[in-house]
C-alpha cells in the first residue's frame, strides 16, 4: 500500500471463503498485528419484552469464563498475551472481535471460539455483571446527556424495540432471569447472517484455516428477523427536567435507508450542514458566530439499514431557545437551496482526500469493512467512491437536500432547565 499515490490510493480487498463463511480481508504485513470483526443482525432488537438489555448482558458474560477457565483465568489468558477480545450488542446487531499480535493469533482464535461455544455463566460472575450493569444504568441517568439519549429513542420509536434501552434499565437488569442469557446466544450465534471482516498481518490461506476453527459448529439458520423499523415519529419538543446549568439537546428526523440511491448524496449534504466539524454550517452559526455551544453536530445513523438523522448540542439554559432557532433556520436554509458550489467542492475534496486516513490501523480497517458489509455494499464500493462522489453536482445535492431535510419535523429532547421554549 505504501507505493500508492494520492489520486491512486487503493485498498485491495480479498474475499476468503471457508466452511460456508465468507470473509473480507485486507492484508497488511507492515506491522505484526491482526484485527478481526464479526457481527450478526439482531442485538437488542431481539430482547424479549421486559428483558431489555439481555443481549448486552449475554455479550458481557462471554468474557466471564469459558470451558475449564473461570472468569479470572480467562481474563489472564487474554491479558498475558495482550488479546483485546470483545463482544457487544447494538440496537440492531450482535458483535464480536479482537485485535492481537500476530504471534498470539492461535491463542486469540482458541479463546474467542471457547467464549462463543462454551461460556460458563457461573453464578458469581453473573451476580457481578448484573450489579455492574444496574449501577451503570443508574449512573447513565445522572447527567442531562444520559437523560436526553434515553428519552430521544423512546419518543422516536415508541412501538418498536429500537425505542428501548440497548444496555437495559436498572429494573430489567435486576429482574433478568439467568436462563435468558443462554437463550440470547442460542438465537443469536448462528451460521447464517454472520458477517466477518479481517485486516492485518495474515494471509488469505492462513485466514481460510482459522475461519473454519473460529466459527465451526455454529447451529444452522439465521437469527430471527426483528420487526421492520417504523417511520421516525415526529414528537415535537420534549423537555425533561434535570437540575443543571446547561441543557443537553438531542434532535432528529427521518433519514434515508442505506439502499436508497440518494444515500451518498445525503451524506454529502449532511456533512456540509452539520457533520463536518468546523466546516459545517451549524458549527459556524452556533459556535463560531454566536458562541452558543462548544460543539454541534448531526449525521445519519442506520438502524436495520433504515436511516435516522440524529444530532446533539449542549448550551446554557437561557440560550436553548436561540440555539434551537439557529439550528432550525440552518436546516430550512439548506432544505431550500442546498449547498453552494464552493461548499460542494470542499466537501467532495475532503471525502475523497481523506480516504487513506481511514486505513492507518487494522482495527479501523476491519470495522470499516464490516460496516460496508452490513450496508450490503459491493466489494468495489470504496474503489468506485471517488467517481460516484465526483458525479454529484450542485443540482443533485440541492434536490436531495429538499427531499431529505424537514425543518418543521425536526423533533428534539431537551434535558435540563431550558428557558423560553
Amino acid at each position: 500500500m505504501s507505493d500508492a499515490t494520492p489520486s491512486g490510493f487503493s485498498l485491495p480487498i480479498q474475499t476468503v471463503a471457508a466452511g460456508g463463511i465468507n470473509a473480507w480481508l485486507v492484508e497488511d504485513h507492515a506491522v505484526p498485528v491482526v484485527s478481526i470483526a464479526w457481527s450478526w443482525p439482531g442485538g437488542a432488537a431481539l430482547d424479549p419484552p421486559g428483558q431489555e438489555g439481555a443481549a448486552a448482558f449475554a455479550a458481557a458474560m462471554l468474557l466471564e469464563g469459558a470451558g475449564t477457565l473461570p472468569a479470572t483465568e480467562f481474563a489472564d489468558a487474554l491479558r498475558d498475551t495482550a488479546i483485546g477480545l470483545s463482544f457487544g450488542a447494538d440496537r440492531d446487531s450482535f458483535e464480536g472481535g479482537f485485535r492481537c499480535l500476530t504471534q498470539a493469533l492461535p491463542e486469540a482464535i482458541r479463546l474467542a471460539r471457547l467464549a462463543m461455544r462454551s461460556p460458563r455463566f457461573d453464578a458469581d460472575a453473573l451476580t457481578r455483571v448484573r450489579a455492574r450493569g444496574v449501577a451503570a444504568a443508574r449512573r447513565a441517568l445522572e447527567t442531562p446527556r444520559g437523560q436526553a439519549a434515553r428519552a430521544f429513542w423512546a419518543a422516536a420509536y415508541p412501538d418498536h424495540p429500537a425505542g428501548r434501552s440497548v444496555s437495559g434499565t436498572p429494573e430489567s437488569l435486576a429482574a433478568m432471569p439467568a436462563e435468558a442469557l443462554p437463550a440470547v446466544l442460542a438465537r443469536q450465534l448462528r451460521q447464517d447472517g454472520l458477517l466477518v471482516a479481517v485486516a492485518g498481518d495474515i494471509t488469505a490461506a492462513e485466514l481460510t484455516s482459522w475461519l473454519g476453527q473460529l466459527f465451526a459448529d455454529l447451529p444452522p439458520g439465521a437469527p430471527p428477523a426483528p420487526a421492520r423499523l417504523p417511520a421516525f415519529r415526529d414528537f415535537g419538543t420534549k423537555v425533561i427536567e434535570v437540575a443543571s446549568p446547561q441543557s443537553s439537546v438531542i434532535f432528529g428526523q427521518d433519514g434515508l435507508a442505506a439502499r436508497d440511491p440518494d444515500w451518498e448524496a445525503a451524506q454529502v449534504v449532511l456533512r456540509i450542514l452539520a457533520g463536518g466539524g468546523f466546516a459545517s454550517r451549524l458549527m459556524h452559526a452556533v459556535r463560531e458566530t454566536r458562541g452558543l455551544a462548544y460543539g454541534i453536530g448531526a449525521g445519519l445513523d442506520l438502524v436495520f439499514g433504515e436511516g435516522v438523522i440524529i444530532g446533539s448540542v449542549a448550551t446554557e439554559n437561557a440560550r436553548v431557545a436561540e440555539t434551537m432557532k439557529v439550528t432550525r433556520d440552518e436546516w430550512a436554509r439548506m432544505a431550500k437551496d442546498g449547498p453552494t458550489e464552493a461548499e460542494r467542492a470542499d466537501a467532495l475534496a475532503y471525502l475523497t482526500g481523506s480516504m487513506p486516513l481511514q486505513f492507518t490501523d487494522s482495527r479501523r480497517i476491519a470495522d470499516t469493512l464490516l460496516a460496508l458489509r452490513r450496508n450490503d455494499r459491493p466489494l468495489d464500493w470504496l474503489a468506485n467512491r471517488p467517481a460516484r462522489l465526483a458525479a454529484l453536482d450542485q443540482a443533485r445535492l440541492a434536490a436531495v437536500a429538499r427531499r431529505l431535510l424537514r425543518p418543521e419535523a425536526l423533533a428534539a429532547v431537551v434535558a435540563g432547565q431550558p428557558q423560553g421554549l
Binding site: 500500500m1 505504501s2 494520492p6 490510493f9 506491522v31 505484526p32 498485528v33 484485527s35 479470572t72 481474563a75 489472564d76 491479558r79 498475558d80 498475551t81 495482550a82 483485546g84 485485535r99 458469581d124 451476580t127 457481578r128 450489579a131 455492574r132 444496574v134 449501577a135 449512573r139 441517568l141 445522572e142 447527567t143 442531562p144 437540575a243 443543571s244 446549568p245 446547561q246 443537553s248 463536518g276 468546523f278 466546516a279 454566536r290 458562541g291 452558543l292 455551544a293 462548544y294 453536530g297 449542549a314 448550551t315 446554557e316 470542499d346 475534496a349 475532503y350 471525502l351 482526500g353 481523506s354 480516504m355 487513506p356 486516513l357 492507518t360 490501523d361 487494522s362 482495527r363 479501523r364
Partner: protein
C-alpha cells in the same frame, strides 16, 4: 468532530493506542536498564535539534501514504498564572483564530479541504496541535503550523465569543456532570484549589471570565518559543525529506528566551483530608482516595516505575487485590487503582470504588483500609508482581498499529523533560522493577504521603466517618 478538547494525556493516549494508560511510561535514564539482547526500540525514532532550539522527532512508517504532524509546547495548565487558571487552554482555542498567512478560522477548513483532520489538546503539562493528512500535504500543514507558531493574531473581537464557547465547554464537561464536579473538588481538596496541581485544566469559571488578551499574549510570548517546543512527525516521510521541510518552514522562526516551568513543591498536608459531597442528581455512591506520589520527574523515577506495577496488581481489574477483596466479595460493583508516572512534578496515586446499593459506604471503606493495611504490611508477592509486569508489557507492540500513539507518546515525554529512551524502551524499564522497589514505593505512598479521601453520595445516604 473537529473540536478541541482539553484532554489529559491519560485519555489522549488511551484513545490513540487503546492501551491502558498505565502501560505508557518513560524514564530519565539515558539507556534501558536490564535490556535483554532482544529488546529493540519500540518506534525506532530519530531526533535532531534545529539551531533555534526546536527539537524534531521522526517515527517513520511507510504502511500507508499518510503522515501525522504534532507540535508540542512544554507548557500546559500547570503554567497558568495565579487567578488565571484556564489560560493555556484559552490560548489553545485562540491559536485557531488566525496568523499572518492564515485567516481567522481558516486553519481547520484548509486542512479539511485537503482531506485532512486537525485538532489540539491541553493537558496539565503540555499543549499540542496536530494534523493527520495524506503524505503529499505535509508541507501545507507544516507551513500553516509554523505560521501560527511565529505569531498568532489573537484578534480582540474573537475573544468574547470564544470565551462563551469555553464556558459552554466547561458546563458540558464539568458543571452538568455531578461526577466531574466532584472530581474537580477532590483534586482541589488534595492539592489546594489555587495550586498548579489542584486547579482544573479548563480553569475555574471565575478565572476563565477574568482572562484578558494580555494574559494570552504573555503566555504565548513566554512559552511558545522554539526552545520550548517539540515537533513530532509519524508516517510516510523519509528523514532527508523531513529535515529539508522542517528547515524550510520552522528554521526561520527566531530563537527566543523561554520562561522555564516554575511549579511550587506540594504542600506537606492536604487542604482537606476528607471531602464529603451529597448531590441530588447522583444515584450511585462513589469512593475516591488519592495520595501524592513520585513521578518520573519528581522524587524517585525508580519509585514511579514501581508504582505503575503496584497500581496494576492492586487495582488493575480482574485478578487484582481490589477486585478480589471488594468486587468478588459483593461489596463493590467496581474497584480500581490508577497512576500515571509521566507527569511534571508531583503525581497522584488514586483508588476508586463504587459500593453495591445494599452495602453501606462505611463498610466498603473499612474493607479498603484493611486491604491496604495488609498490602503495606506484607508487601506484594513475586508472583503477582511478575503477572502485572507481564500483562502491562505484553501488548507494547500494538502501539505500532496506527499513527496516533507514536507522536503522542514521544512528544509528551520529551515535552515533559524525559528522554526518547523512556518511550522506546518502556517495557524494559517496567520489567526492571524489583519486589523490594515495589514494596518500598507502595509503603511510601500509603504510609505517610499526604492523602485525601472523598465520597460522592446520593441525598440521604449517611457519610462514612472514616478512620481517625
Amino acid at each position: 468532530m473537529q473540536v478541541m478538547p482539553s484532554m489529559t494525556r491519560r485519555t489522549t493516549i488511551a484513545a490513540a493506542a487503546a492501551l491502558p494508560a498505565t502501560l505508557v511510561a518513560p524514564a530519565l535514564h539515558a539507556s534501558p536498564p536490564a535490556a535483554s539482547p532482544g529488546d529493540r526500540p519500540l518506534f525506532g525514532a530519530s531526533a535532531w535539534t534545529l539551531p533555534n532550539g526546536l527539537r524534531v522527532v521522526l517515527a517513520e512508517s511507510r504502511r500507508v501514504p499518510v503522515v501525522a504532524h504534532y507540535l508540542f509546547y512544554a507548557a500546559g495548565a500547570g503554567e497558568d498564572a495565579p487567578g488565571k487558571s484556564g489560560t493555556a487552554h484559552f490560548l489553545e482555542h485562540m491559536m485557531f483564530k488566525g496568523s499572518s498567512k492564515v485567516a481567522p478560522g481558516a486553519f481547520s477548513l484548509v486542512v479539511a479541504r485537503e482531506g485532512g483532520q486537525d485538532n489540539a489538546f491541553t493537558s496539565r503539562d503540555v499543549t499540542a496541535y496536530h494534523q493527520t493528512v495524506e503524505a503529499s500535504r505535509l508541507p501545507l500543514v507544516m507551513g500553516m503550523e509554523a505560521d501560527r507558531f511565529a505569531g498568532p493574531l489573537l484578534p480582540p473581537e474573537t475573544i468574547e465569543p470564544e470565551r462563551s464557547v469555553i464556558l459552554e465547554e466547561r458546563r458540558q464537561r464539568t458543571d452538568s456532570s455531578p461526577r466531574a464536579r466532584f472530581y474537580e473538588a477532590f483534586e482541589a481538596a488534595l492539592f489546594g484549589p489555587e495550586s498548579w496541581r489542584g486547579r482544573p485544566i479548563i480553569g475555574w469559571e471565575s478565572d476563565i471570565r477574568a482572562i484578558e488578551r494580555d494574559d494570552l499574549q504573555t503566555f504565548y510570548s513566554r512559552r511558545y518559543a522554539p526552545g520550548n517546543a517539540v515537533l513530532v512527525v509519524a508516517g510516510d516521510v523519509t528523514e532527508a525529506r523531513l529535515r529539508a521541510l522542517v528547515e524550510e518552514h520552522y528554521g526561520s522562526i527566531p530563537a527566543r528566551p523561554v520562561t522555564p516551568r516554575d511549579r511550587a513543591a506540594p504542600a506537606a498536608a492536604p487542604t482537606e483530608a476528607r471531602l464529603i459531597r451529597h448531590d441530588p442528581n447522583v444515584r450511585e455512591a462513589s469512593f475516591l482516595r488519592s495520595a501524592m506520589a513520585p513521578t518520573l520527574t519528581w522524587g524517585s523515577p525508580q519509585a514511579a516505575w514501581a508504582l505503575e506495577a503496584v497500581a496494576h496488581l492492586l487495582g488493575g481489574g480482574q485478578g487484582s487485590r481490589m477486585h478480589r477483596a471488594l468486587v468478588e466479595t459483593g461489596l463493590a460493583t467496581s474497584a480500581g487503582a490508577g497512576f500515571d508516572s509521566e507527569a511534571v512534578g508531583v503525581g497522584a496515586f488514586m483508588l476508586s470504588a463504587t459500593p453495591r446499593p445494599d452495602v453501606a459506604p462505611e463498610r466498603l471503606e473499612v474493607a479498603i483500609d484493611a486491604l491496604i493495611d495488609r498490602l503495606v504490611q506484607e508487601g506484594p508477592s513475586e508472583a503477582e508482581l511478575a503477572r502485572s509486569i507481564r500483562q502491562m508489557t505484553a501488548g507494547a507492540l500494538l502501539a505500532l498499529d496506527g499513527l496516533g500513539a507514536a507522536p503522542r507518546l514521544l512528544g509528551s515525554a520529551l515535552a515533559c523533560g524525559l528522554s526518547l529512551e523512556t518511550v522506546e524502551y518502556w517495557p524494559a524499564h517496567l520489567r526492571a522493577v524489583t519486589l523490594a522497589q515495589a514494596t518500598a514505593a507502595l509503603r511510601g505512598v500509603f504510609a505517610g504521603a499526604p492523602t485525601t479521601t472523598g465520597w460522592l453520595l446520593p441525598e440521604g445516604v449517611p457519610a462514612p466517618r472514616g478512620r481517625a
